[in-house]
């Protein structure tokens, strides 16, 4: 019994899944079991996007205090626009559009990293300033026009297998790969070491700058990819498409059991937290809460979750 408790204690991310389950049960209790399946399908579909960018954000946050990628929303907006413009509604150009959106992400990531490295400024400030510039570029590039995705791309992003979105299956596989990268590769270990103590990690032979560079490029590339997928999923790009993901990525990372102080990360928790957040809003909608009440409760529940999970306990 005590061993079981200890196991759960070691896996704080279980809490996020438990929360997701509880919220789902509360919802279908209200609808008397109706629509439970559809709700899960929708939760999986919408969580996919949060997970893709959330994992990038998780690696960034894991590299230590002050490391947060604030440029994710603008990158999503820019990359979504770039991808849709290049695809131009033609199926034959999907691959080029996907390459372009990742390329746009990598460009933003490179810019972020150059700022961090050359100006030696806290990443949160570097990504904040670059996000302002990227947003202006996105506005200027897209002229605020919405371009529709190619039909096959739209089909792919909305396809389902037995009620499970294709994209979600891909994202689950993606999360598994990222979990292995985190725990079992030199890059992943380096990220965790840097997050605990950058100086000590460097003196222990960890390639600090290479690791940080990869991390910021990765986060921006994931945001870029997410931009294209989101544009495909929602029938076209929009400038405010990424807006909610700034807060959402930080929220899922933390609720998912990753330490904001750095050095401790958790991939499965990202999925749990993303599902939880989506299901929470669904539940509030079902109960007929107004927009304002929904916001207040979402906020309070995020705070309650983090309070419950506890902050950074001393590791002794």
């Amino acid at each position: 019994m005590r061993a079981l408790a200890a196991r759960i204690g070691n896996k704080p991310w279980l809490l996020s899944f438990a929360g997701a389950l509880a919220v789902w049960l509360a919802t279908i209790l209200f609808t008397e079991g109706k629509g439970g399946g559809q709700i899960i399908t929708a939760a999986l579909a919408f969580s996919t996007f949060t997970v893709i960018v959330g994992i990038g954000q998780m690696f960034v946050i894991t590299t230590g205090p002050g490391n947060v990628d604030l440029s994710i929303p603008s990158t999503i907006a820019l990359a979504g626009g770039v991808a849709m413009k290049i695809m131009g509604g033609q199926d034959g150009l999907i691959w080029l559009g996907l390459l372009a959106c990742i390329g746009a992400g990598l460009a933003v990531g490179t810019f972020n990293y150059i700022l961090i490295r050359l100006l030696k400024i806290p990443p949160i400030i570097a990504t904040l300033s670059s996000s302002l510039i990227v947003m202006s570029v996105a506005i200027s590039y897209g002229r605020g026009l919405q371009i529709k995705p190619p039909p096959s791309f739209a089909d792919f992003t909305t396809a389902q297998v037995a009620g499970v979105p294709m994209l979600s299956l891909c994202a689950i596989l993606f999360a598994m790969i990222m979990a292995v990268i985190l725990e079992r590769t030199v890059y992943g270990r380096a990220t965790l070491a840097i997050g605990q103590n950058m100086r000590a990690a460097h003196l222990a032979g960890v390639k600090v700058e290479r690791t940080r560079c990869i991390t910021y490029l990765m986060s921006a590339a994931f945001a870029g990819l997410c931009g294209a997928l989101l544009a495909g999923f929602s029938g076209g790009n929009a400038l405010n498409m990424g807006e909610e993901y700034l807060l959402a990525t930080i929220a899922v990372v933390v609720i998912g059991g990753t330490s904001v102080a750095g050095g401790r990360a958790n991939v499965p928790g990202i999925w749990g937290a993303a599902l939880f957040l989506y299901l929470l809003v669904t539940m509030l909608n079902t109960y007929g809460a107004s927009a304002g009440v929904r916001l207040v409760l979402t906020g309070l529940i995020i705070i309650a979750m983090i309070t419950l999970a506890g902050g950074d306990k001393p590791s002794r």
Partner: protein, 493 residues
Amino acid sequence: MLHATEKIVSLSGMTKSFGAVRALAKVDLTVGVGECLGLVGHNGAGKSTLINLLAGTLAPDGGEIRISGQAQPAGYGVRRASALGIRCVFQELSLCPNLSVAENTRIYHKSLRGWGWRGSAAELIRRGLDEIFPGHGISPHATVGDLPIGDRQMVEIARAFTVTDSPTRLVILDEPTSSLDAVAGKQLLTYVRKLVAEGGSCLLTSHLLGDILDYCDRVVVMKDGGVVADRPAVEFDRESLVAAMGNVVSDARIKAHARVTAQRGAMPVVVKAVPKLQADQAALVAHKGEIIGLAGLAGHGQTRLLLQIFEAAGQTRADTNAAGPVALVAGDRQNDGVLHLWSIARNISVRSMRSLVNMGLIDGAAEAALASKWRERIRIRTPDIDNNILSLSGGNQQKVLFARALGSDAGIILMDDPMRGVDVGTKLEVYELIRAEAEAGRTFIWYTTEIEELNNCDHVYVMRDGQIVADIARAELTEEKVLQASFREGAQT
């Protein structure tokens, strides 16, 4: 009672446990008025816990604290201790780096407020510094973070002696000389004697047994959470003190181990480094299999030189070359060494991750094998190698850092005063290991603040003001020569 004099502090039956670990078991301790008491013991003997209880930063599980004869109630804490005139200088720096020296003084004294508080604080700390460390050259308006570590330690000590509303009756100095150079250390201890002569009291812990024997009136030896000896200092000598701490072997045995080395230069040069500030072309040269000592007063560019070599690993630069991989053993464990969220095993393997990779992934079995191998070799005392690194005592954490470096592919090992605050037993074990590894062809560059340790080295460089000022072969090494080079004034050569 053995001591008939008046007591400033008397602790009786002090007990404290951390989880299952009993740090103190019914300890009695007294400090007399006008007495300097030395407290010695290994890491984990319970000294720090006892000091924290006395300073009010920890609450005891049981026992009685009497200050000037008054029994203290259960709520005894820092504030109460401070009001009763008990001041503590902690081992780790407790200054705010973003504040000025004067502002840091204000933090310490609640009564420094209202108009002109800044001026009074500045005057207070200036007087304190002048009195203890004449010629210190520290401005009260300087930001603490911009000062070198030695200066910061001086500010911290001087601040503990400053007096406003409540008089200073007892000063607790926990390893005060660890960051000070020899001159400042001597100034401090001289001041302590003066204070004691005037009726103040002092509780001093130090790993430098010479300081304890020379400056304390009485010595209390702790071991495993209890007091094992309590006698006037004159009844101890070095040997008997070490024996009392529970060490069968004393430092003196180091000398007997002096290596018989081959002619210097028979082996290839693996490290050559000219310090950045070096005026002439004098360079540190290390041949394969040598143990090179770096000596001099604390903070005279030794660590910087080590980092310079570290950064040049595997490269040939204009002023530095290091043939092959380099590993560093940090001395400042908390800031430079330990990865506090990780297990002992991961802390060992981090330097060797790249060689443990199999098909792109780190091989878990190989990682575990590496960690257990070094746990055996360097005798890390832990029930489980997967425990968190912080479950270890300071000395054992240091062993993990040695295992990290020695378990790696590095042929060149840099050591940044790694024995700081490490008990004698651990030291002797590690010395032996270093010698064995050097025999096997590894090269060591060893910065140390303890002159005795240089006896382990084949060749010693002394640094002063960022430059190499002496180059002493093993055969010619004497303590006098090292000290002479460390203190020589500039200008002449």
